[in-house]
Symmetry: C2
Subunit: 328 residues, 2 copies
Amino acid sequence: MRITTTELAEICGVSIGTIDRALHNRPGIKSETKEKILKMAKELGYRPHLLARGLKQGKTMTFGVVVFDLANQFFAHLVEEIEERAKDAGYFVYLTITEGNIEEELDYLDSLSSLNVDGIILDPINGGAKFSQYLKSLKTPIVTIGNRVSKAFPFIGVKDRQAIKDAVAFIATKGYQRIVYVSPPLSYKGTENIYSVEERLAGYKEGLKETEMPHKPIVIGEKAYIEKLDTLKLREERTAILCSSDIYALEVLNYLRAKNIAVPDDVGLMGFDDIQVLKYVTPPLSTIAYPIEELGRKSVACLLSQINNEPVAPIELLDHRLIEGASL
Amino acid sequence: MRITTTELAEICGVSIGTIDRALHNRPGIKSETKEKILKMAKELGYRPHLLARGLKQGKTMTFGVVVFDLANQFFAHLVEEIEERAKDAGYFVYLTITEGNIEEELDYLDSLSSLNVDGIILDPINGGAKFSQYLKSLKTPIVTIGNRVSKAFPFIGVKDRQAIKDAVAFIATKGYQRIVYVSPPLSYKGTENIYSVEERLAGYKEGLKETEMPHKPIVIGEKAYIEKLDTLKLREERTAILCSSDIYALEVLNYLRAKNIAVPDDVGLMGFDDIQVLKYVTPPLSTIAYPIEELGRKSVACLLSQINNEPVAPIELLDHRLIEGASL
């Protein structure tokens, strides 16, 4: 349904070589011929067929994207942006979803390599030196997001530690007596890559040290964190619950609602990610926002640079900002 | 990081042919050798490499998925399920997102064809006989979801018309005097495939006829539907707003909140899709649920059947059910 260069050549009554010279601004063509061709190309809605061009150059014009899930809107938003930017560059995206299964991640990477992808955007759950070595053996441009693997692979992320420190400082200004921190399980350490989880946790601990709050950190880093909340006598002290992601905060909000504990009157609540669905939630959740679209854009740009043998930054951290809702 | 048949052969001290006979239950192998191999394969965590096997058979082991967006959680959920089911069958998924751009959809289909995908799951925004002809020309197994194209392509969907009729009947039992129906623009008809939009609208009209409600249908099928609500004097009559999808209903909910119009006390509200985020929204939205995972599973199964030259149902409609929230 799209017009090819061959058809364009036929319509203009010139050779494919002439079309090629006109479209790619190469010498060896009369300026009036060139103008005529460009005008016709525009009229006929000709768009360059990047895929065909890439395939000719021995590329597959495909990227692999390896993410945790799509139920977390953060990933859905990110994948949508990656797909859009990849498309702009003529690339197609293989979507692979690990659901946190470290074996599956390895399978996927194996397969993406067999499929000869030109690059991989990876939010890894595997980690460590052996994994880094394995990734190197794939001999494919890779950019890591979310969790770092090693210096060998460019990383684009968020200032996790600083962002949570900022959140703690903000909560402290609101007169809370303690901050409970809800995080994914820390027990995964050693078997899984929990770089981002650890950074955020460190931010919580560092942040607390700088406040006047008397309590030692209360970290709920368990799968059954909701049940753990039951043991905390949330109403006895002026408590805020800081969650390492919005999806946790939303679960906590439902838990509090079910217990008739009012947010923010009885307990404060804060999340992280600023996912799109927050706009429908009451009370509006205070959270940390960062540019998800920029993360997607830069991930694709980083792969393209590697493919073109251009230098890339080993690490790039995006700015965040605190969103004040009405949950604190 | 995964063990190959070659490695397994080396470890067992047998030929690849012998391994093959053991793993695929073929004759020409002693039963004790076979047992030994299967035991070793299990111990070493050998899993069959479906991708490699498929590539040898001249398949690409890839499916293309063409959807509208991922911002609507319905699609995110569906794509996640499709990816999972495809993976189970050894297939990899190209994700392509049209954002409702009919030109881009054609580009994507063109490209997926160039990439030699083994099948395509398509929620089309193009329609009509010419488009059907074009799809046929791709000579690729296709399953359509959401919007039907023609008899030439299997369709898996929801009983859109009946579901909205059910919704109207349910609302009528709640004592409302009128039902306003919010739908995507109907003006797209002719340029876009709005099969599902039309089915749902027909369900609304048919449903209204069966109620005692005196009003003619009020359909807001406009992009600026939120502004249109302003003109309706919502509080004057006992009104329910029925939306053709949850994402519309959530926007309407925010609009009503901003106007201090209480749901359901001042105005009733109902959606369609039962997207995952509804569990965080108050009041709980009444909606129509249908098995999104089954839709994903059946779409993949339908492609696999076509690939294996097995017969497929031309049309398959999944069951829906009405979820009674607290918004009516």
